[in-house]
Symmetry: C2
Subunit: 174 residues, 2 copies
């Protein structure tokens, strides 16, 4: 799923008009696009993970979890965190355990519904997160620095279209 070998085949979409005449199921163009997308995100993600570990002895999931909590000063329900991060609930349980042990998070049971756990950043956790977030923004800025502002805008728009396409397909499948 990684690699993006780029073996110089002309993409189909250069001549969309002849497309209907081609082999019935030629999915090469989409596959190449997907591979390139994945390569980009893998490159960035690995670098972010590496730096979080080196500079903060932390991990991306922990950073993400704290990022979700940052804009919820009154805390957030576990299930909501799980949905927003798009990971399984069991995953959150483990992350929260560790971040609570290390003093970054506080947790409390909702008195009116004792099934519900609410977590929030502690003052310490917030301070740590802010340090990490500032560096994180610098890293991303560096990695994207070679992209002209106009290209960034185009990419934003095209990715929005892709996202819509993917979500529509997932909805059809469900």
């Amino acid at each position: 799923m990684t690699g993006d070998d780029e073996f110089a085949i002309a993409p189909d979409w250069l001549d969309g008009e002849t497309k209907a005449l081609e082999a019935p199921h030629d999915h090469r163009a989409e596959l190449r696009l997907w591979l390139r997308l994945l390569t980009c995100s893998t490159l960035v993600e690995s670098e972010v993970r590496r730096r979080l570990r080196e500079e903060f002895d932390s991990t991306l999931p922990r950073f993400d979890l704290m990022a979700q909590l940052e804009r919820a000063p009154d805390g957030m329900v576990l299930g909501e965190v799980s949905r927003r991060m798009m990971v399984s609930p069991g995953n959150i349980t483990v992350l929260v355990e560790r971040l609570t042990e290390s003093g970054h998070l506080s947790r409390a049971t909702l008195p009116t519904d004792r099934r519900v756990q609410i977590i929030a950043l502690t003052a310490f956790g917030r301070a740590e997160f802010e340090k990490m977030a500032a560096r994180h923004a610098d890293w991303i800025s560096d990695l994207f620095a070679g992209l002209a502002p106009a290209d960034g805008g185009v990419l934003m728009d095209e990715l929005a279209k892709l996202k819509r396409s993917v979500i529509a397909s997932l909805a059809r499948g469900a």
Copy 2:
């Protein structure tokens, strides 16, 4: 690192000319772009994982490994696989163990250099992979179906620029 909340702030690059006058380190635009990129690739990747599991009781790493081997009929050295997949060598060891047990892969020690392991798809492995690859191509095609061919082309180009930017940044940092 996931989510892409889209809280409707006008991107910086809409007016690149005033950029120099803004706050010294406003990285919001890049962050938003990164988040959106990550959202797209996470959505696609999760769906592919889910279907590999449901339809083939397999996983993405296994599929990727077999994909690398597919175009190397004479087999490939472990280290080369590791580099192409951009994962750690120790990772490949484990994957190869399991795929060899299940009969998908054969492995052999190079006689002239007994440190080197060469792996290749077995006939069974190749047949299994071809089934998976065909379905995989269909899934991606579906997920990307809502993207017009012209948009696909633009996205290819813009992602190429982003990839260059990231690689350049990584090279600077090294």
